[in-house]
Each structure stands twice: as structure tokens, then as C-alpha cells.
Symmetry: C2
Subunit: 217 residues, 2 copies
């Protein structure tokens, strides 16, 4: 509300409105690709032509469990959570936070065209770029060099998951939280504590007690 009033008075901040008329910023996603492979402008143009821009408001879903995950989604701006709902214990468990520069999807659902186990939901208003399975396959057929980028991306994710598994096995709740503070300092004040607790695998109450103990020093 406030913001709209403001833009009506000062047209310059229309840029900040991020309306549908704004030009889409492809730099981050091209940087993501060029981080691993060299591509020509032509190849970049083709890649970009396969992407769909999408906005998502806080609390909206990008994917609901049991739906098929039709897209791999790159985050230009905002923050998503991937999580799993445990119906036995009526609880959510966050598997990953995905922020600027990251990719979100239920990989198994995406590649096997089967119902997803994950939900993906916006924790903030988001700007996203999506590519569907057929387009991705077409990209890889047309310019096989993209396979390399795609492969290295999965290697990185594999490394991240392995590190997570090790920490969950080796560390207690307190140490996992301290590690989170070190590894994701930018997320600590961006994401509600109880969601961090869910990611760490402890209850919101217990995380609060952990913080209390740490603060007493």
C-alpha cells in the first residue's frame, strides 16, 4: 500500500515496483551458467528463450507435495523453503533453503515425472526463472556443453547434502546451530527461528533454549 502511494508521487521508484513491465534480469542465471562453462551470446540467448519468468508472493507455493514438479526454478530474488510434511507426526521438516543464485526443485519428481514428496514455498516475495523438463532436454540436445554445467551443479548439491548428513550424524543440536550461524550468517536474521529449528532437526522450543544458553556467555 505504502509503496504504491509512493511510486505515484515519485515516478523514479517505479523501478522498484518490479512490475510485469520491468525488464527481466537474466544476469544472475547467466552468471550461474558461466561459472562452469563458457557460452556464446547465441547460446545464452537460446538458453534464456527457454526460461519462464515468475513472481511468487510470500507464503505462496511453487510446488505442493503429490503434484508433479514440472520445473527447475532459479531464484533471482527472494527465498524459498523445500520441506517435507510428515503426516504421522503432523510436522514439517525443512530440507533446504534456496536463496538468490540457487535452484529449487523436487529432483526425483522432475526427472521421473512422478508425484513429489517435497513442498516448495516462498518465505519472501520472489522473482524466479523456470525451465521445464522438455526445454531442459532440448537445451542439452542442442548444446551438449550445458550437460557439463548441469552435472557440476549436481556435484555441488551432492557435496552440500553430504556435509549436511555428516553434521546431522556427528553434532548435537547446539553445535548444529553454531555451525548454521557460521555457514549461513546472512540467513539467520532473514528466516524465522522456528524454521531454522526445523532445518536443524530440533524443536522450536529447544532451539530457543540453545540460544538462551549461548547468550549467557
Amino acid at each position: 500500500m505504502h509503496q504504491i502511494k509512493f511510486t505515484l508521487i515519485l515516478p523514479i521508484s517505479l523501478l522498484e515496483l518490479n512490475s510485469v513491465f520491468d525488464k527481466i534480469n537474466y544476469s544472475p542465471i547467466l552468471a550461474n551458467v558461466r561459472n562452469y562453462i563458457n557460452i556464446t551470446n547465441e547460446e545464452a540467448d537460446y538458453f534464456v528463450s527457454l526460461l519462464k519468468f515468475r513472481r511468487l508472493k510470500k507464503k505462496q507455493f511453487l510446488l505442493q507435495a503429490y503434484d508433479v514438479c514440472k520445473y527447475e526454478t532459479f531464484v533471482i530474488r527472494g527465498c524459498l523453503k523445500e520441506y517435507f510434511t510428515d503426516y504421522e507426526n503432523v510436522k514439517d521438516h525443512i530440507t533446504r533453503f534456496v536463496t538468490e543464485g540457487g535452484w529449487a526443485s523436487d529432483v526425483e519428481s522432475f526427472i521421473r515425472d512422478k508425484p513429489s514428496v517435497l513442498n516448495i514455498e516462498a518465505l519472501e516475495d520472489c522473482e524466479l526463472l523456470q525451465i521445464d523438463y522438455a526445454s531442459m532436454e532440448q537445451l542439452l540436445q542442442t548444446y551438449p556443453k550445458f550437460e557439463r554445467w548441469y552435472r557440476i551443479g549436481f556435484q555441488e548439491e551432492y557435496i552440500g547434502f553430504q556435509s549436511r548428513i555428516i553434521k546431522n550424524l556427528a553434532l548435537g543440536g547446539k553445535e548444529r546451530y553454531q555451525d548454521f550461524l557460521e555457514q549461513y550468517p546472512h540467513l539467520v536474521n532473514r528466516i524465522p527461528q522456528h524454521q531454522i529449528a526445523s532445518y536443524l532437526g530440533v524443536s522450536a522450543e529447544f532451539l530457543s533454549k540453545i540460544r538462551q544458553k549461548l547468550a549467557r556467555k
Copy 2:
């Protein structure tokens, strides 16, 4: 001992000796590749020429933590464990079991040429095929189609790790063990219980108590 005596009497079972003179069986690793991409005999020959055959006896190490992981290793026969040693609590934590048809390595160490966090050790006598980083890169340069196979392999591993993380977050020790019984029935009587406990993230004693409870039904 017993077996050697036997072979001396009946030469036919020399086949079972698996001596260094036996022909190496490349079928499993070629099946692993052909599961994802079509390759010609020429390509297969080239691929195979990059591989080194290696035998490992039970309890021998394929990789020690802090060494650089120089190879990705395919298991023809036998069983490996990848594990992490937590020096704080003087405890090992198994991240993965790798058996026939699987690949073992410390991925981050391998691709970044940095000290590994994982140990890899034989739980049984093993027959392995190894490829080093330079050879893998050469393979991918020479026949880029192998990127696809490599990429899909990592996708599969990613899916496996994600599933593991979800289960570790959502399930208690008992349920994790029951899930293990379902998912890896062939491993249950092949791997010592305390190692399974380590993989599941519970103490050996507690797993024993879990089994006691389950047996009483």
C-alpha cells in the same frame, strides 16, 4: 586356507581364486554407463582403457581422511563403507555403503584436489575399477556424451541423499531401522549390526534394544 588347499586338489576352482591372471570383468561398469547413454564399442574400449583394476582386502583403506581422493571407484564385487571420524567424540559415522554396481569417492576432495573428510574402507574383499581426475576429464572432452551419464549418476546420488536427510529428520531410530530393512534387505546380513547402527545414527547398544523390541512381536 581351506579354499587354497581345495584349489590345489581341484584345478577347476582356480577360476574362483580370482588371481591376477584372471580376465577383468568390465560388464558391470559398461552396464552402468549403458544404463544412461548409448555408446559404441569403440567408445567403450576407450573408456575401459582409462580404468585401473584394483583389489582390496577386507579392512584395507581405499582412502584415508586428509589424503586427497585421487580416484572415483566402481565396485565390481565386494562392499565398501564411506565414513567420517568425529575426533571430538571419538566416533565414526558411516555416510554410505557402496556395493556391486556403485561408485565411491570423496567428491569434494576429488574435484577440488583437497584433503578428504571421508575414509573409505573395505568391509569385504573387493574388486574395483578406478578412474583418476585427468582421465575422467579426458573422457569427457573426447566423448562429451559421457557428461550425460556422469550427470545422471549425480542426480541419482542427490536423490538418495535427500531421501536420507528426510528420513533422518522425520523418523526415530526404530523406524529408521525398519526402513533400512526394507530398502537394503540384502545388506542386513552382510554388514555387522554396529555398522548399520552407525549408518542409522544410533548407538550399537540402542540398535540392539530396537531389535529386541521388534523381535518380541
